[in-house]
């Protein structure tokens, strides 16, 4: 079921176009990755969802109805540029921020205690924020984002500033939040985490959405017919057998087995490739290489920046 959608959102800042006709749809209890190069318009879209800025036109829907200002109480937002009141005590500040999201003081205290204990930061409660390290502050900020049990969570670059251990903790928590029923939108440049976490992605480049779909399907779509073949036999024979129809990208020989990366060009199929190679060598394994999100990202952005390249290929 769809929890949130943005439809035909446009936003122009004096002369720069931040978003042109962007629509996204986020399923309930899923993790939605919002990708794009710097300055593509991700943060603008996120701010629009958070009701910080209003779109020039286009509409937002939450749980099937139009979004209202009051809906922000059900959103948890972790902005890219993070910060807390430096002079305020950690606990006091967390309670205040939770109250701003509409929680009662009592509930806020209760929930915060649970989170603080889970993150092992109960000792920090009475410390001033400026006494904490950057990483600790990030943790506090994360807790303040989720404490009011939002149905929709929005993380802008959540992993920036976290060390690998805390980044892992964060990943675990994000997955757990999803399993507990929350829907999550996050923007990131960390493609590894997209592969790990996102059920669905949208890629924005220069204010336009260029890719949108479930993560697996997109990777499928962007595969370039590259196969990794492990075999026993003579490379020269294989090379001859493949001929000009197939492009050999990489070749590694070793005592145990040889390894080959091959790409077939238009018009061929997996079977064609196999048929060509079988007479020349004994095949140990045959596997299609699915592009990483990183490759998909680069390829999609380049294609949209230079539509000509796509045509030439």
């Amino acid at each position: 079921m769809e929890l949130f959608s943005a439809q035909h959102v446009n936003k122009v800042f004096s002369k720069t176009r931040a978003l042109s006709d962007v629509s996204i749809s986020v399923k309930e209890q899923s993790i939605f990755g919002l990708l794009g190069p710097n300055g593509a318009g991700k943060t603008t879209l996120i701010r629009i969802i958070n009701q910080i800025t209003a779109p020039d036109d286009g509409e937002l829907f939450l749980e099937g109805r139009k979004m209202r200002q009051s809906d922000v109480a059900h959103i948890g937002y972790l902005p890219e540029e993070r910060g807390l009141y430096k002079k305020m005590k950690v606990g006091e500040q967390a309670v205040y921020l939770a109250q701003l999201k509409g929680m009662s003081r009592k509930d806020a205290m209760q929930n915060l205690k649970i989170w603080f204990e889970r993150f092992e930061m109960m000792d920090w409660w009475n410390k001033k924020v400026e006494e904490l390290s950057k990483g600790m502050q990030q943790k506090v900020q994360f807790v303040t984002t989720v404490v009011h049990k939002p149905t929709l969570l929005i993380f802008d670059e959540p992993f920036s500033g976290f060390d690998p251990i805390n980044a892992n903790l964060l990943k675990r928590e994000i997955l757990r939040l999803r399993d507990d029923g929350a829907t999550i939108i996050f923007s990131t440049h960390n493609m590894g985490s997209v592969e790990e976490l996102c059920d669905h992605i949208a890629l924005i480049n220069k204010s336009v959405k260029i890719v949108d779909g479930p993560t697996n399907e997109i990777r499928e779509k962007y595969k370039s017919n590259i196969f990794e073949i492990k075999y026993k036999g003579n490379f020269e024979q294989v090379d001859k057998a493949l001929g000009r129809r197939f492009k050999i990208l990489e070749h590694v020989e070793s005592v145990k087995e040889n390894q080959l990366q091959v790409q077939y060009l238009n018009g061929d199929s997996n079977n064609d490739l196999l048929q060509a190679i079988i007479p020349a060598a004994e095949i140990i394994s045959f596997e299609e290489i699915i592009p990483s999100m990183n490759d998909v990202f680069i390829k999609a952005v380049q294609e949209s920046n230079n539509p000509k390249i796509q045509k030439d290929e």
Binding site: S14, Q51, I52, Y77, G83, Y96, L97, L100, T144
Partner: protein
């Protein structure tokens, strides 16, 4: 509402607030105590002044003046002292020439500049001596025995009691002096508060922007709510502070009344008398001094207190709202402290101007400076308040208030727009043109 509470508590709990709140009354009390102390025990330094009396009229006649002793010296000593004052035990040399009766001049030779008060006192003493001597001669020549007393009776000091006629024809005792002090004080208090708390709002906005926490907060509440909460919260802090001062003042007054026994009051009025004698030479009797205190109290009571209080609150709130929202907008528009300085100046300039014209206004509350200053909204909170104790035509007051309300609403509107746009704008050097562009944004 929550922001309001938060902002309020944050500021009230701050050390600087507590210190300032405690310190200012202490400072005031201390200042008064110091003034009283100084006027009671002023010149403590012991000096000996060598006197060479060429006229020989004053020999042995100069009594010690406070802590200053006079020591008569012969001519030879005077000559050596003159060239060698530094090594001697004398502080200064007073030279009374032969012809002092005719040209009324004496000389004081000293190494350091003498306190003005001391030279004045010596001068007064010499003149009185000569005056008495001359008068005695005149009396003797005239042969009228009680001439002295009769002449004394002719001495007159006229005190002018000013009465102000109100619309109802009721005449009330008023005093320009009291109005002057009240007007100056109130103009200054307004200036001080608007400035201090306006700047406090600006700092608070800047802090939030610098910390980047503002994005989280405006994802929870509207920017306007944030700004309103901040401004109102700070206003309440100001009112709390004033409230504390008023309460402390009342307590101190109570303590003071029981502490200052009649004797000490007498002492005080005596020292007051002395100082006024020193200044104008007019003799005021003890009774008159006491009457004066009562008069001042009556005159203060005769100021239109409800109107003054009302206009104080009105101009304080409106002026504060206008300036603090503008300063808040500046806080949102700039990235760092240095940039804020140059944006703050154009905004606070009218306020500084107002404080500069405060003195001319208090002196001439009907003049054109006073009129325009109190009508134009940016200076009116200070300027009009300075005029109120003197009495202001109702239409002027209403016009000034109406314009101020309009300006305040306008300022809040503009500030809200700038605030909203500026909060999330980083790394951009903002100038006036940019700000005007922001005002035109739809959202």
């Amino acid at each position: 509402m929550l922001i309001l509470q938060q902002e309020y508590l944050k500021k009230v709990k701050k050390k600087s607030f507590i210190i300032l709140t405690l310190l200012v009354p202490l400072l005031f009390v201390g200042m008064f105590a110091l003034i009283i102390f100084l006027s009671l025990y002023d010149d403590k330094q012991e000096r000996t002044i060598a006197v060479y009396d060429e006229s020989t009229l004053f020999l042995g006649e100069l009594e010690p003046e406070g802590t200053t002793q006079f020591h008569f010296v012969p001519k030879e000593k005077f000559d050596t002292l003159r060239t060698n004052l530094k090594g001697s035990e004398f502080y200064a040399i007073l030279f009374i020439p032969e012809n002092i009766y005719s040209n009324n001049t004496a000389q004081i030779i000293s190494e350091k500049q003498l306190p003005m008060e001391l030279t004045e006192r010596i001068g007064r003493r010499l003149s009185r001596f000569i005056e008495n001597d001359k008068r005695q001669k005149v009396i003797d020549e005239a042969g009228i025995p009680d001439l002295d007393e009769r002449l004394a009776e002719t001495r007159t000091t006229v005190k002018i009691n000013t009465l102000k006629v109100s619309d109802t024809g009721e005449a009330r005792k008023s005093s320009s002096e009291v109005a002057f002090i009240a007007s100056y004080a109130m103009g200054f208090i307004i200036y001080f508060f608007v400035f201090m708390y306006g700047a406090s709002v600006m700092r608070s906005v800047m802090e939030e922007k610098k910390n980047r926490i503002v994005e989280v907060i405006i994802s929870s509440v509207k920017p306007f709510q944030l700004m309103a909460g901040k401004i109102i919260g700070t206003a309440l802090v100001g009112l709390t502070q004033v409230g504390i001062w008023v309460i402390v003042g009342i307590i101190l007054l109570g303590v003071g009344q029981s502490f200052f026994t009649p004797e000490s009051a007498e002492q005080m009025s005596q020292s007051l008398m002395e100082s006024s004698q020193q200044m104008g030479g007019a003799t005021i009797s003890q009774d008159m001094a006491n009457n004066q205190v009562a008069d001042i109290l009556e005159l203060v009571g005769n100021l239109n207190l409800p109107l003054i209080l009302f206009s104080f609150l009105f101009y304080f709130l409106a002026g504060y709202l206008m300036y603090s929202s503008l300063l808040g907008a500046v806080g949102a528009a700039v990235d760092n402290e240095e940039d804020s300085q140059q944006m703050v100046f154009p905004i606070t300039f009218p306020l500084i101007l107002a404080i500069m014209i405060l003195f001319p206004i208090a002196r001439n509350p009907e003049g054109p400076i006073a009129f325009w200053g109190s009508i134009i909204p940016f200076t009116s909170p200070v300027a009009m308040l300075a005029r109120v104790p003197y009495g202001v035509p109702t239409w002027e007051l209403l016009l000034s208030m109406a314009l101020l309300i309009l300006a305040t609403v306008g300022a809040i509107w503009a500030a809200a727009k700038i605030y909203k746009t500026g909060l999330l704008m980083y790394g951009k050097k903002v100038n006036l043109k940019e700000l005007i562009k922001w005002l035109r944004y739809k959202n």
